[in-house]
């Protein structure tokens, strides 16, 4: 056998196996791929960074809040608040009485045509009664204001001390031991400080006994009122007053059992945030960081917005997709897309300048008085913000719902027509149910858009931090609220970095972030789970 001929070496220009340039074991191609891959990871990195920084700035909140609550207890603020609650409840009853008086006065003036003097004379027994009732609380109120001063003084002392400790720590960190030693810290001895506070308990008990006795006699002797309706109200008041009297022993027991040494459990700092009904900052008494009023505000505004936006957005999607002619489609779709480009701050400005006033005027029309909450006087409220947010949500819902309708296989439509269904039947019974998952996810994403919207609610929701009065039924939508997004935008610029308030705002941001992830997750889950596909 002849040995195989060696393959002829190709001319240098035709080398197939070029030696590749390698860099850390990677070819140039691999490097390019890695570069692009790195960019793709960016979105994950950003998401992780957002999570990290929200946690980083917000995590300290719960520790600080616990300390905040501990001081609240140790300085005796909690003790005083038990008493204050009692006087506040009394004030509520007094307010009820003055409401009844106003109604009675109206009755005298309008139905019996009495002059103001005569009406006042007729109400004299009532006034005397109300006056007695109101005065009964005075000793108690005096006690509360006295004790408030004591408690505030203790708290101030404690805070000054903490500041000094911080100062010393900083001085030590800067290696200025001599100066650090000069910072005088007198530790607050809560036991002695609280003694005058706790010493008032017997006096309080005496005062309370007398107070209770006075009220009991007063409640059993309510003055007569002119109409059955007012009588009924008075009976209701009597009931309320008796309930109020029944709370007295509990208050006393609370005061007796109260102990400043009782530790504040860690979950308390969490639950006072999640279920706290007050968001009160920079107050002279005690700061509260409860997210509930903000959360409820966000939720109410979003609900109003969605109630308006869902029928409109989905209706428009059905119209454009199923009913409109091609020419109409070509005009409407870009127009709605154009609406989505409206900057939210401009919409907010529109709300302040035009819509708030217009809606209030509308609410004062007589033929609209049947709508709950109408007429109202607050220009900026849930309704104003909700209407504007609806305009923001509509394009989102429309675009996504239209996509969903578009994705329904034509075979379904054709089959329906072939069976003799009319256009409306096909649309409502075949197309819409088939795309329902897409429509629901569109609504959810609309909700996400609305709940995260900042400028409109900041400018138009009224910014009153309180849980609206749900006792008014649907009329609740005419009350002003504050929202989670709004509070961050409003207060972030003014807080001290690292303070508990600052961290609380980051925790609110964290709640928003988690909420948005949750909504996204739900929307995607629904689409994946219920998608109709014809194989």
């Amino acid at each position: 056998m002849t040995p195989p001929e060696p393959a002829p070496t190709p001319p240098p220009g035709f080398v197939l196996h070029k030696k590749r340039l390698r860099f850390l074991g990677l070819t140039v191609e691999d490097c390019i791929k890695a570069f692009f891959g790195g960019n793709a990871i960016m979105s994950i990195v950003v998401l992780a960074l957002i999570t990290y920084f929200l946690f980083r700035e917000g995590a300290g909140f719960f520790g600080q809040n616990r300390q905040n609550l501990e001081v609240y207890r140790q300085a005796g603020l909690e003790y005083v608040d038990y008493l204050r609650q009692q006087t506040d409840d009394h004030t509520a009853l007094t307010r009820y009485l003055s409401d009844v008086r106003l109604r009675a006065l109206n009755h005298y003036a309008e139905e019996r045509k009495l002059s103001f003097e005569d009406a006042s004379t007729a109400l004299a027994p009532f006034d005397e009664f109300a006056g007695k009732f109101g005065d009964a609380v005075e000793p108690l109120r005096g006690l509360v204001s006295e004790l408030s001063d004591v408690a505030t003084a203790i708290k101030t002392k404690f805070i000054v001390n903490e500041d000094k400790k911080e100062e010393r720590r900083q001085l030590l960190a800067e290696n200025k031991a001599a100066e650090a030693a000069q910072v005088a810290i007198t530790p607050v001895d809560f036991a002695t400080e609280l003694k005058p506070l706790l010493g008032t308990l017997p006096a309080y008990k005496d005062a309370n006994r007398e107070f209770a006795a006075q009220l009991t006699t007063l409640v059993s002797r309510v003055p007569a009122l002119p109409t059955p309706d007012l009588q009924q109200r008075m009976a209701r008041w009597q009931q309320l007053a008796r309930d109020y009297l029944a709370t007295f022993p509990t208050v006393e027991r609370n005061l007796e059992q109260w102990d400043y040494r009782q530790p504040v459990p860690a979950w308390k700092s969490f639950s006072s945030f999640v279920f706290g009904r007050q968001w009160l900052t920079a107050s002279f008494w005690q700061d509260w960081y409860g997210i509930l009023p903000l959360f409820v505000g966000s939720l109410l505004v979003s609900l109003v917005a969605l109630t308006l936006a869902v029928p409109l957005g989905v209706g428009a999607a059905i119209y454009v997709n199923q009913i409109a002619s091609t020419r109409e489609q070509k005009i409407i779709k870009p127009c709605i897309e154009f609406i989505s480009a409206f900057p939210s701050v401009v919409l907010g400005f529109f709300g302040i300048a035009v819509l708030g006033q217009a809606l209030r005027l509308l609410s004062q029309q007589e033929w609209l008085a049947w709508i709950p909450g109408f007429p109202y006087s607050e220009r900026l409220n849930i309704l104003t913000a909700g209407c504007l947010l609806a305009l923001i949500a509509v394009p989102t819902i429309f675009t996504l719902a239209e996509d969903a309708l578009n994705n329904v296989p034509t075979a379904l439509k054709e089959a329906s027509f072939a069976l003799g269904a009319s256009r409306l039947q096909t649309t409502l019974k075949i197309i819409v149910p088939a795309s329902l998952s897409g429509i629901i996810s569109a609504v959810l994403l609309g909700l996400g858009r609305v709940i995260g919207e900042t400028m409109v609610v900041l400018l138009c929701a009224g910014n009153r931090i309180a849980i609206p009065d749900f006792g008014r039924g649907l009329a609740v939508i005419t009350e002003p609220v504050h929202t989670m997004t709004g509070i961050i935008a409003q207060e972030m610029g003014e807080v001290v970095r690292g303070s508990i308030h600052y961290r609380a705002l980051f925790v609110v941001g964290l709640v928003l972030f988690i909420l948005s992830l949750l909504i996204n997750y739900l929307a995607q889950g629904i689409v994946r789970r219920y998608r109709i596909s014809i194989g």
């Binding site: 140039v28 191609e29 791929k33 570069f35 692009f36 891959g37 960019n39 793709a40 960016m42 979105s43 994950i44 950003v46 998401l47 957002i50 920084f53 929200l54 980083r56 700035e57 209706g315 428009a316 059905i318 119209y319 009913i323 409109a324 409407i332 870009p334 709605i336 897309e337 154009f338 609406i339 480009a341 409206f342 900057p343 939210s344 701050v345 401009v346 919409l347 907010g348 400005f349 529109f350 302040i352 300048a353 305009l391 509509v394 009319s422 256009r423 409306l424 996400g448 995260g452 900042t454 400028m455 400018l459 997004t485 972030m492 610029g493 941001g509 928003l512 948005s516 992830l517 996204n520």
Partner: protein, 346 residues
């Protein structure tokens, strides 16, 4: 006589007539939305046009567009009502010493113009879009050209989807925590750029991917078959065809960046600043300065000053300029995209 009907044509019967009211309901919903949008738009355009345009030549209120905001002073002078901006008022007082004691009502930001805000917004948009495009296009190239379906890619896509749903105020908080505080950039252009860029990243990635997908597979296969490497293929045969689409779709991202207020509130925007951005001593300072921005200015003038006939001019004027800029960008983007979709048919 009626023309003979086609045997298969739909004859409007009872069912057809019963359908009509329901169809009208949907129609009304649709046009109601358009009417609301038009009402907002027209209200701002009509009232704002009074500030921006003038009845005599050159028809455009150049002071409003080219000067910084000032306080407005209103006072009575020799029986006449005078309105003057801050500087003008001071000059007037120097000329007429008797005017020094005149009682003037003042409204902040209500005179002068919005030039620094326009400049700031343009700077913010240009910077953040550059960053977002660079990151977004590269990410889209990876997702569309290199990646194979797998757990990792699904995770990346999930992250993009979720990023798109994060509220803008959360981006603001994040930018504040990371760039302003952790990196120590303070309230600066740079912090604003990155915050906005990250916010708009999902939009850019989605738009770029869509354009890359529109380039037919044959282009890539042909190039690869001729021995080109993957990168050569992408560079020479994919990107040139996808780039117009990427750019036009990304304009919608510009509208979003320009329109958002919440992310720049604590990362880049100043309520008021005397100097224009290029009046800096060193080049490095340029990136670390806060700017005034149109959306933030609207927020300030609509919430921090009272509403009356004098302040209304600047409020509506600013809103008008801002809305027109954003609307123009959006319209261009929508129109271009629709034309482009029909342009290339492979």
């Amino acid at each position: 006589m009626n023309p003979p009907q086609h045997p298969f044509s739909v004859r409007p019967g009872a069912v057809h007539h019963r359908e009509q009211p329901v169809f009208w309901l949907f129609r009304v919903a649709t046009y109601f939305i358009l009417a609301c949008g038009a009402a907002v738009f027209l209200n701002i355009v009509v009232k704002g046009a009074g500030t921006v345009f003038k009845t005599e030549a050159p028809f455009i209120n150049t002071t409003f567009l080219t000067e910084a905001p000032e306080s407005l002073y209103i006072f009575e002078w020799e029986g006449k009502k005078m309105e003057m901006g801050d500087r003008e008022f001071r000059a007037f007082k120097e000329q007429n010493p008797a005017a020094a004691k005149v009682k003037a009502e003042s409204f902040v930001y209500s005179a002068g113009g919005i030039w620094p805000c326009i400049v700031g917004t343009v700077l913010l948009v240009v910077g953040s879009m550059t960053i977002a495009l660079a990151l977004g296009v590269c990410a889209a190239i990876y997702l569309n050209e290199y990646a194979r379906d797998g757990a990792f890619i699904r995770f990346v896509r999930l992250a993009i989807l979720n990023l798109a749903g994060v509220p803008s105020i959360v981006f603001g908080l994040f930018g504040f925590g990371m760039f302003v505080i952790f990196f120590g950039w303070n309230v600066s252009l740079l912090a604003g750029w990155f915050t906005l860029a990250f916010m708009v990243l999902p939009v850019v990635i989605t738009a770029s991917e869509e354009s890359l997908k529109a380039v037919p597979k044959g282009f890539r296969e042909g190039s690869l078959a001729l021995g080109a490497t993957k990168w050569q293929t992408i560079r020479k045969n994919v990107l040139p065809y996808a780039l117009p689409g990427i750019l036009t779709s990304s304009i919608l991202g510009i509208a979003r960046v320009a329109g958002e207020t919440a992310p720049i509130m604590f990362t880049a925007a100043y309520v008021v600043r005397d100097k224009l951005p290029w009046e800096v001593e060193q080049l490095g300072d340029f990136f670390f300065q806060g700017v005034m921005a149109l959306p933030y200015h609207i927020y300030v003038v609509s919430s921090k000053i009272p509403q009356n006939e004098y302040t209304e001019r600047v409020q509506y004027g600013t809103a008008f300029v801002f809305l027109v800029i954003v609307a123009l960008i959006a319209t261009v983007s929508i129109l271009l995209r629709n034309r482009l979709r029909n342009r290339y048919r492979w």
